[in-house]
Symmetry: C2
Subunit: 332 residues, 2 copies
Amino acid sequence: MRIALDAMGTDRAPATEVEGAIEALRELDSDIEIVLVGDQEAIEVELARHEGAPLDRLHVQHAADRVLPGDAPAAVVRRKPASSIVVGLRLQADGHADAFISAGSTGAVMAASLFVLRRLPGVERPSVATFFPTQKKPVLLLDAGTNVDCKPRHLVQFAHLGRVYVRDVLGVEEPRVALLNIGEEPGKGDELAQETYRRLADEPGIRFVGNLEGREIVRGDCDVVVTDGFVGNVLLKFFESIAQFIVGLLESELRRADVGVDLKEAFRVLDYSEYGGAPLLGVNGVSIICHGDSPPKAIMNAVRVAAQAVRSGMVGDTAAELARLRPDEETP
Amino acid sequence: MRIALDAMGTDRAPATEVEGAIEALRELDSDIEIVLVGDQEAIEVELARHEGAPLDRLHVQHAADRVLPGDAPAAVVRRKPASSIVVGLRLQADGHADAFISAGSTGAVMAASLFVLRRLPGVERPSVATFFPTQKKPVLLLDAGTNVDCKPRHLVQFAHLGRVYVRDVLGVEEPRVALLNIGEEPGKGDELAQETYRRLADEPGIRFVGNLEGREIVRGDCDVVVTDGFVGNVLLKFFESIAQFIVGLLESELRRADVGVDLKEAFRVLDYSEYGGAPLLGVNGVSIICHGDSPPKAIMNAVRVAAQAVRSGMVGDTAAELARLRPDEETP
């Protein structure tokens, strides 16, 4: 299989992407090939630094342009058709690649993915999903900020998108789906949560385990958590900053006490680079979004996850799952 | 001044409350008196354990009943009029106390406070506010879960409630008010956030500093953050659990490495017991809610905060601030 990797997305592009790609080809299954998409010259300079890189499985697709932080996400396809994001996604849409990965602007990757890959039938709102670390396995939360002012039916769709992803990519047989809420009992929460609860409880194919309060996320007693993108985004960004804050408090205390402990292992569970990026679910293809400050390891993990999504037939499974749902645009 | 303290609220009631009250009287200003409200016999047994307690400033008001976890909050005033929560609040309403503190059920304290103390004119929805630790000073976030499905005008009222509290109780001269949102620019967010932004930008008396993303809370660059109670509650509960989770990761790693470091100082900033409870704002009185698992220090800090609220005239100042707002029930 072939995975298109935007080489111009990270803060240290394309060095990080090239290093991550080489690491992935060395570590992961040998049926994986990677197409680095971006400034050919810059990519080749980076490739030359890595002796013995598996060049037979490493291709370069030139893209003359790149998306910059100031670019309006919605205008990228029209205004920057030669950008690495658009060129990489087109490789997949045209059948020259099976998946796309980028550490560029989340908004731009999303908008371009929607335009180039298109939504799957039955999906009104594709959704970016992210993993939260827990005491057990990481939990997939969606929506992570793509969709605000959601209706109950959107959250039900998120439940299906998340459930198929976790089953196919993580191998969880019957994923448990929970609704983020401000109380445990049915009937708790705002109007959206109350109505979504009723629908999820009746939804075929969904193993609904009920409401989940903010404090319970960390317990890891479910596999998928659905919520409106406003809540998901605030929570995700808060989590990333508070984790850093707490680790910082601690490191300065250990420094003060002059204690040399390597906390890398303890905090590995908090490290997003372990999770392989945030998938955009509900489009007709595999599109994975990584942090702009991803290290090579995060890129490698995104390749691993993308390959697993391709291998499992996640997109086809999602399409089949959503096709079973009656189109129901009239319901709120 | 006299502060009514529900002695039956904590998990180890009344021992914790009695200890916290004695500590407060010893540490804080000598014009403070405390009325312990609850089972007189149990309270006196506890008091007898503390030699040299300042009994001249420590009173007991018997309450024959107590609110239990299963009690429906809205029914407490009617069904348990002799509970320590209702009796304690009535002391304040009748002029025998200037403030009320409880570590009992948040819902019950809130419902009973609303009924007994009543809302201030101009306040449609009283709001529980809580402090979040930051890299600088703690930041007051409201609503913390009292009010869901808020309208923009409710969030504007929260802004006023929070601003007066922070100014009077924390002594911040011109508190900076931010709107929790999923992007920095105006126009970001869901419908509620977009319209609230417009209103806060024009609101007299509010020093509005714009949108604040989830990741920026921890920076502490504002004094008050307003948001809907759904978001606030999810965030607050998530924060408490994730802080515990991360500290736990760390402690087990340090144990494994056999390193004896006292992390108490490093994590002091994360410790809610430093913050003195969550005030219910917008009622005609001072009502402070503490965690059920509060240690005596948290009770003492709640007394400190309640005393400061009384001394500063917080309730009168809030009434004056809200009276300036035009009643505007028609606007969304």
